[in-house]
């Protein structure tokens, strides 16, 4: 065992020594010294054959017929019949090929290694005496207080109890924009405190943190096999012994020992066993680097075949928070907006808050307005007095009650806003309507373009399922150009629709925020969570989009198609190589050493082919300026 470990650790030196010996041997041939030639090749064969034979034996002990066994038998055979140069070159090529495979494989695993290396290692724990002590992150317990200084990494999931700072959450959300956090806010392990100092109470530590879960998920994902891989694994377990038997049969029939051992080398399934997994590793690594977590090769495969995308509306197609999406101002100098904001500031109703944040966003000041009184009238709105004059803010019913009439233009505006699926808030004073706000759930930016892009990648049908009312649903659907809409649904009914599409023969992916869509996420062929790394989303879905963006959805879909394609290419290359070698053997172009060379080259070709996936990026849709809702309001305000 010691000997084997020694050999394992020094394989690279052995490979180098073999290369030098082969060089010396060839030199011996040039200067016509048979002694140098023969001795060099014999020594080279022995030292480079040792690690291969050892590996073959240790695999045999676990009842596995490995590629090393095929090579070992061939090499020993060549050695016995005195073909020392063949045996030396074959073993050298095999070892050198393995060395190159390791190096290139490491490259394909790089993205994932980068991710795991981002995990925090130490934490500054604040003791009861207030002193801090640096400890290994594994020894931090829940409810411990940790101190994080500017530039430091947050070592736990927790809540800030003191201090504030700007945090880069790229490792969790994929977005490197700095987020301001202060006491009471959640922070995540693995994120970086750009500036400031914070004291954090740990709520989750180690592998339980969101970051720990992400790392575990990705590590598991790259070892979760695709159907192609599973098939090949099964194939290889029969194929390798079959090659052994074929070589034996060939040897017995032709009585040509040399031909028999050549078959052993040529039959090695090298590129075949490595081709499919390497594509998956590269593809999953690419995803992890770009905020797309795909749970393994099987998911990759199914996702590539998806033709129907079903979306939940709220929080997926829309941002899930209400905001002013339309505004009609009939007052002078935005007075109507100012007064409305000043009064609504006193309320915590979502519609009122939307009005206030709208005026804040557009820097419309309202501090100079005195609100004297404000009374809520249920189901109507607010009756208030501001700067000494009575003001009404509410719905159309309230206006009718108070005998405020709308002009023809205002009537038309109101209808237009309502048709967009928005709730309306009317502001009136001086006996006239001064402003109308349209408030609705904001549609995410670029959804329309993204859906079009997904279609060009191969999606046939897009569907929206929502619990919201039909009018709102239709309004949203019209703006984003979705194919099918079903509104006023309960979660169970959403599941029914997913099942129905599946029965119609579609492969369905369900995209939801992961909070109340779990049944649909599980039922669909592929569940895609657009939750920013929430636990539930990570666990119940097949694909997690870290920053909840549509760009990531496009990336995920495009990537899975590319990865599956890449796997197929690699299988074709591998099988093509074996076929070409056999033809070469029959026509007498190929011998043992050249066969091994072609084999090792084909292994490198499939790895390089997979490496193309590491830098894959789909074309992203260009944002249509008209759809940027914010600029639309700016325009209407200027009028």
């Amino acid at each position: 065992m010691k000997f084997q470990r020694y050999i394992n650790q020094h394989t690279n030196q052995i490979t180098l020594a073999t290369a030098i010996l082969i060089g010396v041997g060839l030199l011996g041939k040039v200067i016509n010294s048979d002694l140098i030639y023969t001795v060099s090749f014999i020594v080279a064969s022995i030292i480079s054959g040792t690690p291969i034979i050892l590996r073959a034996i240790s695999a045999l002990r676990f009842k596995t017929i490995s590629i090393e066994l095929l090579v070992s038998i061939a090499v020993i055979g060549a050695f016995i019949i005195g073909e020392y140069n063949e045996s030396a070159i074959v073993t050298f090529l095999f070892l050198f090929g393995t060395f190159l495979e390791d190096k290139t494989l490491a490259k394909t695993r790089h993205s994932i290694k980068d991710l795991t290396e981002m995990a925090p290692t130490t934490a500054l724990v604040i003791g009861e005496d207030g002193e801090t002590e640096e400890t290994d992150v594994d020894f931090v317990d829940v409810d411990d207080m940790v101190l994080v200084k500017a530039g430091g990494q947050i070592p736990v999931d927790g809540e800030i109890v003191d201090g504030s700072g700007h945090i880069n959450e790229a490792s969790i959300t994929g977005e490197s924009k700095l987020v301001t956090k202060q006491a009471g806010d959640q922070v995540y392990s693995g994120t970086i405190l750009d500036n400031g100092t914070v004291k954090v109470r740990a709520t989750k530590v180690g592998d339980d943190t969101t970051f720990g879960k992400i790392v575990e998920l990705v590590e598991d994902a790259q070892d979760t096999k695709s159907p192609a891989e599973k098939f090949i694994d099964k194939f290889a377990t029969y194929y390798t012994p079959a090659v052994l038997i074929i070589a034996l049969v060939v040897g017995l029939i032709t009585k040509d020992f040399r031909l028999a051992i050549t078959v052993l080398v040529l039959g090695c399934p090298g590129a075949l066993v490595i081709g499919a997994p390497v594509s998956n590793v590269a593809g999953i690594g690419n995803g992890a680097k770009n905020g797309v977590l795909i749970k393994g090769g099987e998911v990759m495969n199914t996702f590539a075949n998806v033709d129907t995308l079903v979306f939940d509306k709220t929080g997926t197609l829309t941002e899930g928070k209400t905001a002013v999406t339309a505004i009609k101002d009939y007052s002078n100098d935005q007075l109507g907006l100012q007064i409305a904001a000043a009064i609504e500031k006193q309320s915590d109703h979502p519609l009122a808050q939307a009005v206030v944040s709208f005026t804040n966003d557009h820097q419309i000041g309202f501090d100079h307005i005195q609100v004297n009184s404000a009374d809520t009238i249920k189901g109507r709105g607010v009756k208030a007095t501001a700067d000494g004059q009575p003001v009404l803010i509410g719905n159309l019913r309230m206006m009718n009650d108070e005998q405020i009439s709308l002009t023809k233009q205002q009537q038309a505006d109101l209808e237009q806003i309502q048709n967009q699926g928005s709730s309306t808030v009317i502001v009136a004073f001086n006996g006239q309507v001064q402003a109308i706000f349209g408030i609705s759930d904001v549609i995410r930016q670029g959804v329309k373009e993204s859906l079009a892009q997904l279609k060009s990648l191969g999606i046939q049908k897009t569907v929206m399922l929502t619990g919201d009312n039909l009018q709102t649903a239709n309004a949203v659907a019209e703006q984003i150009g979705i194919d099918e809409v079903h509104a006023e649904l309960l979660p169970e009914q959403k599941v029914q629709y997913v099942k129905q599409f599946q029965q119609e023969g579609h492969k369905v992916a369900f995209v939801g925020d992961g909070i109340n869509d779990s049944p649909s996420l599980v039922t669909a062929d592929i569940g895609i969570a657009m939750g920013s790394g929430t636990d539930v989303a990570v666990e119940t879905s097949d694909v997690v989009l870290m920053s909840s963006g549509f760009n990531e959805l496009i990336h995920a879909y495009g990537l899975s198609k590319k990865t599956v394609m890449n796997t197929k290419e690699n299988i074709v290359i591998a099988i093509g190589t074996v076929a070409a070698l056999l033809v070469g053997l029959i026509f007498g172009f190929i011998y043992m050493a050249s066969g091994m060379f072609v084999h090792e080259a084909s292994i490198l070709v499939v790895i390089f082919n997979a490496m193309r996936l590491i830098n894959y990026r789909p074309k992203m849709p260009k944002l249509d300026a008209d759809q940027l809702s914010v600029s639309e309001y700016d325009l209407s305000l200027k009028q």
Binding site: M1, Q4, R5, N8, Q9, R55, S58, A59, F62, T64, S66, I67, E68, T98, E101, D102, L105, A106, R109, I112, T116, D138, E219, D220, Q222, D223, D233, V273, P277, V281
Partner: protein, 73 residues
């Protein structure tokens, strides 16, 4: 039942997986062995009364694979 996670040096041949898996499963008190080829990690459940964590690590080392670190929960 405790859970051990062993981080190994990079694995390069898929047959390494079978070797490690087979060797660990043969030990008394070891269950659910999972070898992650690409992450070079071994995850396993074991009964602390029947086998020590160090013994697990030694088993893998004896097969010729360097154990970089081990976590036991």
């Amino acid at each position: 039942m405790s859970k051990a996670i062993l981080q190994l040096d990079a694995l390069s041949c898929p047959s390494c997986m079978q070797k490690i898996q087979g060797a660990l499963e043969k030990q008394d008190g070891v269950e659910n062995v999972k070898v992650l080829f690409n992450a070079a990690k071994v995850k396993t459940d074991f009964d602390g009364d029947k086998i020590s964590a160090d013994k697990l690590s030694d088993t893998v080392t004896d097969l010729g694979y360097e154990v970089q670190s081990m976590k036991v929960k």
